[in-house]
């Protein structure tokens, strides 16, 4: 029974990683850049939801939508201001800018909302379902998180596969110049990617803080890094990869804690990552692209 309950914790933690990883992977797939500020957009989303619910008594669903709207604007704004001028710059410059944006967001949050942690009231309530005479309890949070993750993944797969905008995104991801020649507005497509990625970040932030309710300006940074790891693990650029990578990372983390050692859990997680990357350098679902000479 404890195995099952660990598995559930792992899948629910992994689903949060997966939603964050989707944001990383989409932006990487299309703009070919690592948006390290993604974790901090999550934090902003969680703060917006927190203030909407606790200060202005907004009901849960409008609050989440509001957070998603604010993060979408923020994401597009960051892209326009910080990344667009660097479109043709070396990737190292973009990477460093992303790290700069990350610090900027963290420290602005600290100025605006102080470093005192706030406790986030779960948007879905803190009830739980008891099974097998109460020996196994599943929190409503975990169910909602896993469901949200599945819905988001299905929606994204449909969006990139079936819609015009989605096709434009895939085209940009394969060859930006060729896409432009075919009449695709590359800049608009990249902005759209940032908008979607940031809206997902808001949802991830709300779910993250519903499950683990401490909200601080640094709340997003560690889950952000773990989700980035998950994205690499699954094969960066692949939507299914981010999903599977996130869930696996969560499950490995919890199992390593439960059955091997709480002290070594992170070491084990990253050891598995190294092994996977040694065997499959492009990650579990990554495409191996042959460089044509």
């Amino acid at each position: 029974m404890s195995f099952l309950s660990h598995l559930i914790s792992g899948v629910s933690l992994g689903s949060i990683y997966a939603i964050i990883a989707l944001g990383y992977t989409m932006v990487y797939g299309i703009a070919k850049m690592l948006n390290f500020a993604h974790g901090d957009v999550i934090m902003v989303g969680a703060y917006v939801c927190f203030f909407a619910v606790s200060r202005y008594a907004v009901p849960a669903i409008p609050a989440v939508l509001l957070a998603a709207a604010v993060c979408t604007l923020l994401g597009v704004f960051i892209e326009r201001l910080a990344y667009k001028p660097l479109r043709s710059a070396p990737s190292l410059a973009v990477l460093i800018t992303a790290i700069g944006v990350s610090y900027f967001l963290q420290n602005s949050a600290q100025l605006l909302w102080t470093s005192n942690p706030k406790v986030f009231r779960s948007v879905v309530g803190d009830g739980s379902i008891k099974l097998f005479d109460g020996r196994l309890s599943i929190s409503v949070n975990a169910i909602v998180t896993v469901a949200a993750c599945l819905v988001i993944m299905a929606a994204l797969t449909w969006f990139t596969g079936r819609t015009k905008m989605g096709k434009a995104m895939r085209a940009c991801s394969e060859d930006k110049d060729a896409a432009q020649l075919m009449g695709i507005n590359v800049n608009a497509t990249i902005s759209m990617t940032f908008a979607i990625g940031s809206a997902l970040a808001a949802v991830a932030g709300v779910l993250l803080c519903s499950a683990y309710p401490t909200l601080m300006p640094t709340t997003g940074s560690m889950p952000g890094i773990k989700a980035f790891t998950a994205a690499v693990f699954g094969g960066i650029g692949s939507i299914q990869g981010a999903m599977i990578g996130g869930v696996l990372l969560g499950v490995i983390e919890i199992f390593a804690k439960a059955y091997i050692s709480t002290q070594l859990s992170d070491a084990i997680v990253f050891f598995v990552l190294i092994v996977v990357l040694l065997v499959r350098p492009a990650g579990l679902f990554g495409k191996r692209i042959q460089e044509k000479v």
Binding site: S5, S115, K118, A211, P213, A258
Partner: protein
């Protein structure tokens, strides 16, 4: 464009000058006190609280007339290397007395400098033993970690609070692991049974389901939590959602949990802790401090603020008794203050009749508190 940059730089320099100027208004008769602490970053809550507390004490003392203090706090971001840089900035400013560093890891680094430069230091809250060890001019206002660990074990045993104890501690933090080590030693000596020991780190302080499952499986009826209140609040919430209701026993880092914004204080009902400071105490000194702090910073002061406040008042008492003047050099002041601190009794917010040993550790009584109806109540 160049001109704009030039004016911007000039403006910043002017601002820096005025800030410095404010510190040394009447440079001749002001004793310069410096300290480092995390004013930004993840541990900023502790550094800001200690600074605000110390600042309040300085303002009160300066308003009395007599000895005048100037306080300068530099940011160390809870990083040892940056703390030493911050310390050097303070030395250039002319620091005569030091408040060390707020958190343990930076304090271990700056206390070495304090000792080498013979600048007297009393740290508000850096509780690791390594901070004071082998340095005869570095003192602590807070309990040293070992004292907290063994006092907690003794208290749990004496009051028969739990028969089977589980411990969850943060193994990449010298504060948490230091307390656990001495807790374990004392528990073994007095026959307190520890049935489950699990850990977490800075990077994994969100999910505690595994640690709680282990404690539950081993039948623990009390969980000892030597940690700060942020992870503790998650532990309470996660234990409740799995229907596990042990007793909890915390240390001074647990203080502050009730002022956590949005925290459901019902989760902390019955939590016991040993702490030197109680913001809800009714005595005149505490009530006055809390009211002033709230008016100025809009929040209830935590233990770090009280420690910072006490440090400045302890220095004030020693400065007056030792007839220290602002014209003395730092090493001369250091000799007088070391003599005063090891000989005096000090009563402040965090304890009555505190004394300091030659090793720099404070001796004061921890107060056993329990949370009832969302407030701390004395335990005995």
């Amino acid at each position: 464009m160049k001109r704009v940059v030039f004016f911007a730089v000039a403006a910043i320099m002017m601002l820096a000058l005025t800030v410095c100027g404010a510190g040394s208004a009447s440079a001749a008769d002001v004793i310069k006190i410096g300290g480092t602490g995390p004013l930004t970053g993840g541990a900023a809550i502790y550094g800001q609280a200690a600074r605000n507390g110390a600042q309040l004490a300085v303002e009160e003392i300066n308003a009395l007339g007599g000895v005048q203090f100037a306080l300068n706090y530099q940011d160390d971001e809870h990083d040892a290397e940056k703390a030493v840089n911050a310390y050097n900035t303070l030395k250039d400013w002319g620091m005569q007395v030091s408040l060390g560093s707020v958190t343990s890891t930076p304090a271990v680094a700056t206390s070495v400098e304090n000792n080498a430069d013979r600048i007297f230091a009393v740290t508000p809250s850096a509780s690791a033993v390594a901070v004071t060890e082998g340095k005869n001019n570095v003192f602590q206002m807070c309990f040293a970690d070992p004292n907290q660990g063994s006092a907690s074990a003794q208290y749990i045993k004496d009051q028969k609070l739990g028969a089977k104890v589980a411990v969850i501690y943060k193994n990449d933090d010298v504060y948490s692991s230091g307390i656990f080590e001495t807790f374990k030693v004392r528990a073994a000596k007095i026959g307190l049974k520890i049935v489950s020991v699990t850990t977490f780190t800075e990077d994994s302080q969100q999910d505690f389901s595994v640690q709680l499952a282990d404690a539950k499986k081993n039948g623990a009826d009390l969980i000892f939590l030597p940690m700060y209140y942020t992870p503790a609040s998650l532990i309470f919430q996660q234990a409740k959602s799995t229907g596990y209701a042990p007793k909890y026993f915390g240390v001074d880092g647990m203080d502050g949990i009730l002022s956590l914004e949005g925290f459901n204080t019902a989760l902390a009902e019955g939590v016991m802790l040993l702490t030197p400071f109680n913001a809800t105490a009714k005595d005149k000194r505490t009530a006055g401090f809390v009211a002033k702090y709230k008016a100025k910073h809009g929040e209830v002061p935590n233990q770090f603020a009280a420690d910072g406040y006490d440090c400045v008042y302890a220095i004030h008492q020693a400065v007056k008794a030792g007839k220290v003047t602002a014209k003395m050099t730092a090493p001369a002041i250091c000799d007088i203050l070391v003599k005063q601190f090891t000989g005096m009794k000090f009563s402040g917010l965090t304890g009555d009749n505190m004394t300091w040993g030659k090793n720099g550790q404070v001796s004061k009584d921890p107060k056993g508190m329990v949370i009832k109806n969302g407030a701390y109540v004395g335990m005995n």
